[in-house]
């Protein structure tokens, strides 16, 4: 029966059929000219704006940092409960990347491509965010207020037009610390204790602008290696009078423990990132397995810098607002400095969204920040540096001394910029107070 059709004919027919199918199933070439699809309002509906962020909720970097999104969420809930922004509720999606850039890349794909967020708000970490910053700019997603002080989030707006920094960068902080040491301890032998990445590098660059000749020892540690005894011993051997530490909280605690063991008692000066007394205190208790009980008081007399009023200043109007927000919309636990950080970032985003007008677009919010970003009045002690030429965040901080878990300011707010910009005193940003309602009222731009 099957011999009825010669085999060769059957093959030819099937080849032709497949060929015709392949040719017909696609477009068979490109149409001329393609319509421009405007994706400028992805994530915005009539009654909601969707934003997202990546944070280390699990893993080694989670202590402290995982509290930031809980603060931001509480503030967004507070705004939503009071009517939202232009009638839109803010939907805030947080994804865990465990501080692993591979995961950051995956969860950012998820946020941008699946959840279709309007903007990234507060993505945390230098190595983690580096993995996605090009992708976000390529997809033209506003990448606002990166939770890291690396210079790369704002020093080149042409290369990364959608990315904005938020906190003072590490070089600026290094400059302020360097100047303070030069003015107050001009004869001291200075040792540096640095994290071996942008954080330590940028900080060192700033410090060296003022006290290059005073530095007698530089020790670096690698994040992940918990043995810092050789570094601290090296600083002790160099007989330094003051140690400037650009460290994360874990390494602040580790260096304090080793110094206790070695009976090494210099003046310590930790950068803002690593000086939260509550977290360092609890880490000290944990690392020493209970040998150090009152870890917070171990930090008495330690110098640091500040750009946001923290929980140790309960009379500050901003802190009162944060306390109110946390009491009404927070989850479990107390208000902490990390939660305040998240709330302050969320506050800035609400300002930016208001400035972008009643019909916010992705390009619109970037444009609005460039236009009026430097005039925004907000929780930080100094203004933001946002303009067409810079996407750097807060421009100033003050030097403080920790005493009984609270920070006492030693200087007025010191304002500067990257490079050789001079340091000036400017307390005007610290005078800002929150509006009565707790929700900013920014006029739309243009």
């Amino acid at each position: 029966m099957t011999r009825g059709i010669p085999r060769r004919v059957a093959v030819a027919v099937s080849v032709l059929t497949v060929g015709a199918l392949v040719a017909s199933c696609g477009a068979g070439g490109r149409p001329e000219g393609e319509g421009e699809s405007s994706a400028s309002d992805v994530g915005v509906t009539e009654n909601s704006v969707k934003v997202g962020a990546h944070f280390p909720l699990t893993g080694v970097a989670a202590p402290g940092y995982s509290e930031i999104p809980t603060g931001a969420r509480a503030y967004f809930d507070f705004v939503n409960a009071n009517g939202g922004v232009d009638g839109r509720r803010i939907r805030y999606i947080v994804k865990d990347d465990a501080y692993n850039p591979t995961n950051t890349s995956q969860v950012t794909n998820e946020l941008v491509l699946q959840d279709e967020i309007f903007a990234m708000v507060g993505g945390l970490g230098t190595p983690t965010h580096s993995a996605v910053v090009d992708f976000l700019n390529q997809e033209e997603v506003p990448d606002l207020f990166v939770s890291s002080g690396s210079l790369q989030w704002g020093d080149d707006p042409e290369a990364k037009p959608y990315t904005f920094g938020w906190q003072p960068d590490y070089e600026l902080e290094g400059k302020v610390i360097g100047q303070w040491v030069a003015q107050n301890m001009p004869d001291a032998r200075v040792g540096l204790f640095l994290q071996d990445d942008d954080f330590g590098e940028d900080g060192e660059k700033g410090v060296r602008r003022y006290i290059d000749d005073q530095i007698v020892a530089v020790e670096r540690y690698t994040s992940g290696n918990t043995d810092v005894a050789p570094q601290v011993a090296g600083l002790a051997a160099a007989n330094v009078d003051i140690v400037l530490g650009f460290t994360t909280p874990s390494y602040t605690a580790l260096s304090q423990l080793v110094a206790l063991k070695l009976n090494f008692k210099p003046q310590w000066f930790y950068s803002n990132v690593g000086s939260d007394p509550a977290l360092v205190g609890s880490l000290l208790a944990q690392f020493s397995e209970g040998a150090v009980r009152d870890g917070g008081s171990l930090l008495d007399g330690v110098l640091t810098t500040e750009y946001l009023a923290g929980v140790d200043a309960p009379d500050d109007p901003w802190v009162q607002l944060w306390q109110r927000v946390w009491d009404q919309h927070g989850g479990e636990g107390q208000l902490t400095n990390y939660r305040i950080y998240g709330m302050a970032q969320a506050y800035t985003f609400v300002q930016a969204l208001q400035a972008a007008g009643p019909n916010p677009t992705r390009d619109g919010i970037v444009n609005a920040l460039e236009q009026i970003g430097s005039e925004l009045e907000g929780p930080p002690l100094a203004a933001y540096r946002y303009s067409e030429n810079s996407h750097m965040g807060v421009e100033g901080l003050q030097v403080s001394r920790l005493e009984g878990g609270a920070a006492e300011p030693l200087t007025p707010v010191l304002v500067s910029d990257i490079g050789d910009a001079p340091i000036e005193e400017d307390d005007s940003g610290a005078q800002d107070t929150p509006p009565e309602s707790g929700i900013p009222e920014v006029e739309p731009v243009g």
Partner: protein, 389 residues
Amino acid sequence: MAQTTTAQRSGKPGLRARLGRLHQESPLASHLLVALGGLVAVVLALEMTDEFVNSQLATMAYFGIAAGGLTVLTGLNGQLSLGHGALMAVGAYATALLLEDQQLPVLAIMLLATLLTAVVGVVVGVPAARLHGPYIAGATLALAVAVPGIALFFSDSLGGEQGLPVSVPDVPGWFSDVVFFLSANETSTSKYVAYLGWGSVLLTFLLLANLARSRVGRTWRAVRDDEVAAELAGIRLGRTRVLAFVVSAACAGLAGAVLAMVVRIAAPSGFTLTLSLGLLTGVVLGGLGTLSGALIGAALLTFLPPLFTDIGLGAGLSDLQAAELAPLVYGLTLVFVILLAPAGIVGTLRERWRRRRDRGADDGAPEHSPPAASSSAARPHNHPGGNSD
């Protein structure tokens, strides 16, 4: 029951018997056929899904390549490697450095990254070949811990803790034209990378499947099953072990190259011990020694965590609780698979299928059973994951 089986079989004896014979007589042809089917499936899957699923599939591709290499090493040759994450790092860093120059075509870069990792595989494999069982695991564990440290030590050229950004190659014009011709879809960068990844998967699996059925694969299994007998049969143990390790390392290198392009960064924190352990658990979950099991393991590694995070969020858990749910579910899955299906998903399914078929063959008409069935029925079943076809 037995009657229907016989009836079904006699209903279409031609195709099945012919495929069975093809598999016996020319494994290459049958593997090519499967690979071709795989290619069609890949094109369909990538063209019918959105950009996000494309990127997830690209992730699955690099897990799949690495798991395929690992399952051959551990399942066929009996060497347990905890260092495959580190070998992936070698491939990823090589790719990042080569892509920076923009000198070579991307396929050449992937090949170079694979070869470089194979060379590293020789360096590690030669001393590892002298070790047995847990000691190999220990030696490769040291590799997993040490390699990220190299990137930190040479932080000037390798980017230190922050890693090297990877400039993903542009989609070639002819490629997007072909895709457009077939499906009327534009080719985004992530889809292009997914195609590169799945092309690599198909090629790797084709080569591995052939290798496993060749003389080389038989010597690997012989060494795994009984070293003394293998040596008496004239197999040189050291050489065989090193070869298996190098092949496996090359796969890991290729996986690293794809990973670098998918993730767009090569950083030490992406290649921690967790990656090596994750690969191993994926391979065990899927079914040790089987390539299809490696693919299933890769799919679980890729899709399970976000799925359960979303389910957790949907059920009203907080962000933190939902984030902790994924590793919990993954751990529980692993526990239950080990308890209930120790041969892994593919191994258990295959064992069940084989038992059922044998029962049918015994009850029914043995003279009808195709050659493939009779030979596998005669094969001892003490290594459920022993073959890789």
